[in-house]
Amino acid sequence: MSYLKYGYVFLCVIFLVGLPLTSWSQDAVPEGEPTLELAEGESENVSTEEAYEVEDQSPEELDHEAQQILDLKQAVAAAANAGHNGWMLVCCALVLFMTAPGLALFYGGLVRKKNVVSVLMQCLFLMGLMSVVWAVCGYSFAFGGNGSSHPFIGSTEYLFLEGVSMTDGVLATKDSIAELTFALFQGMFFIITPALICGAFAERMKFSTMAVFSVIWGIVVYCPICHWVWDGGIIGHGEGAWAGGALDFAGGTVVHISSGVSALVACVLIGKRMGFGSEPMPPHNLTYTVLGAAMLWVGWFGFNAGSQLAVDDVTVTAFAVTHLSAAAGVIGWTLFEWAVHKKPTALGAASGAVAGLVCITPAAGFVQPMHAILMGFIAGALCFFAVTTMKSKLGYDDSLDAFGVHGIGGTIGAVLTGVFATSQVNTGYGDALGIIDGNYKLIVGQVVAVLVTVVYAGVVSFIILKVLDKTMGLRVDDDAETRGLDLSEHGEEGYIWL
């Protein structure tokens, strides 16, 4: 009973504190202008009555009033900053939530019963491993230096999070989120990206090699691509970039194409699962898979809307189009599956949602809601054909369709961003963005960015895996694979009898 009372009091306090905060942040001043000038500018705009009052005041009183306005402006900026930071910390948690339980359950349900623990373990262990690698060196290699001084990879300036401030803003604007918040948010992407690759080699990869591969891949593949796209590097949007660079709001190239292509390389190099094509390998627990997909959907709001790094109008559209694209992805995949295979399946709907989410990732924050629906529908339909028709024609064993959904979906999204991105949604990147704005240059940059990512991620992943194959071995032995990775690699079972 007393807990209930405390909870009630707590809610009341939150409400009372939150109310003025919300109204302040709505009145937040335009970004980037020096506060003193603002204070002067503001006093010109006061109503006539107030202006007369001002005339009656002595110079000391005027100074006092200017100081008061300055103080107020600072208080408003601090309140807005608190809002942005608070939202971004929630987004950090949402993106982490995508890896586990989201992705862990999505993938865990798709494997056979004897391998469920191995998949959950891969996701959970990567949460630990990649977080530490990110703090130690990943963040620095991805976001150290800037595009002009370090076009290919970041610098060593932030090694061990040295100099990453918990108070100073990461952006030029006055109410920017703290650098540490930004580092944390980006770190969550660093976790989920290699975890996505695990879907391709599930049910046969050595755990030790998986861990070493993920660390090397994170540093050698993820960090450079992240730097190229989001830290003013060679394919980020801007003058210095190749072909004008690409728009990638939340990681279409950085996260999905890079992981999807690496996944394809990995599953071809490691080879098919024993009995692939002759033994049945149906998902052992679709309940997990559907719930996992639903959790991914929720987490993706943090992934995409969070990528605006603040709470503003673009955040709202990013959130909205993320949702609509996922919704259309469900419809796209399910309808085509229904037509081709005669039944609408839950696995199809779940996969379609993920395909829609992947596709909108580079475009969120740049496109209109109706175009998002179109994009999600296209991604749902094309990814359906990629994982059913194309995969069986080409004959590779991408166990959980990491390439079919993330590689294909990410590519569709990156290219369509060049079509549908518009300055009506996002004014931060010039007057004309995509083809619908009459600009045909962006789509060239998008395609170049896709190609650069595909070639770089593909070739480097190939080299890493080849070296690991010769030194550690990629695959467990036949006996271990037959018994299942849960027992042979971890000495555990997912489901214990009695």
Binding site: P280, M281, P282, P283, H341, K343, T345, L347, G348, S351, V387, T388, T389, K391, S392, D401
Partner: protein, 112 residues
């Protein structure tokens, strides 16, 4: 003493149990089993890959009873489990040589 093993449709389990209890049967054991007879399995499709599922899920009831109650029990199962379609299941009857109640050590019909 006899053992009646009845393999039935899973959704008929409750009906069969009620019919057996009404017929005076005081205890039974049920297990989830999979198998096939004349009723063929079905196919399932996951992301475009089709799997044939030959082993159909069924419920198997095991009842040990005194010789005198056998016919009544069989009639109860027949009446409750029948739908008339292929896949209704089977009943097997076998002899039991001994039964012992663990708590008291009673033997034979007393222990059922």
């Amino acid at each position: 003493m006899k053992k009646v093993e009845a393999i039935i449709r899973t959704h008929k389990l409750d009906d069969v149990k009620s019919a057996l209890v009404e017929a005076g049967i005081e205890g039974m054991t049920v297990v989830e089993v999979r198998g096939f007879g004349r009723q063929k399995g079905h196919t399932e499709m996951y992301r475009g890959t089709e799997y044939a599922v030959d082993f159909v899920p069924k419920a198997k009831l095991e009842i040990i009873l005194a010789d005198g109650k056998l016919q009544e029990a069989i009639d109860a199962v027949l009446q409750a489990a029948q739908t008339g379609n292929v896949g209704d299941g089977k009943i097997f009857v076998s002899d039991i040589t001994e039964s012992i109640r663990i708590r008291t050590g009673e033997m034979g019909d007393e222990a059922i």
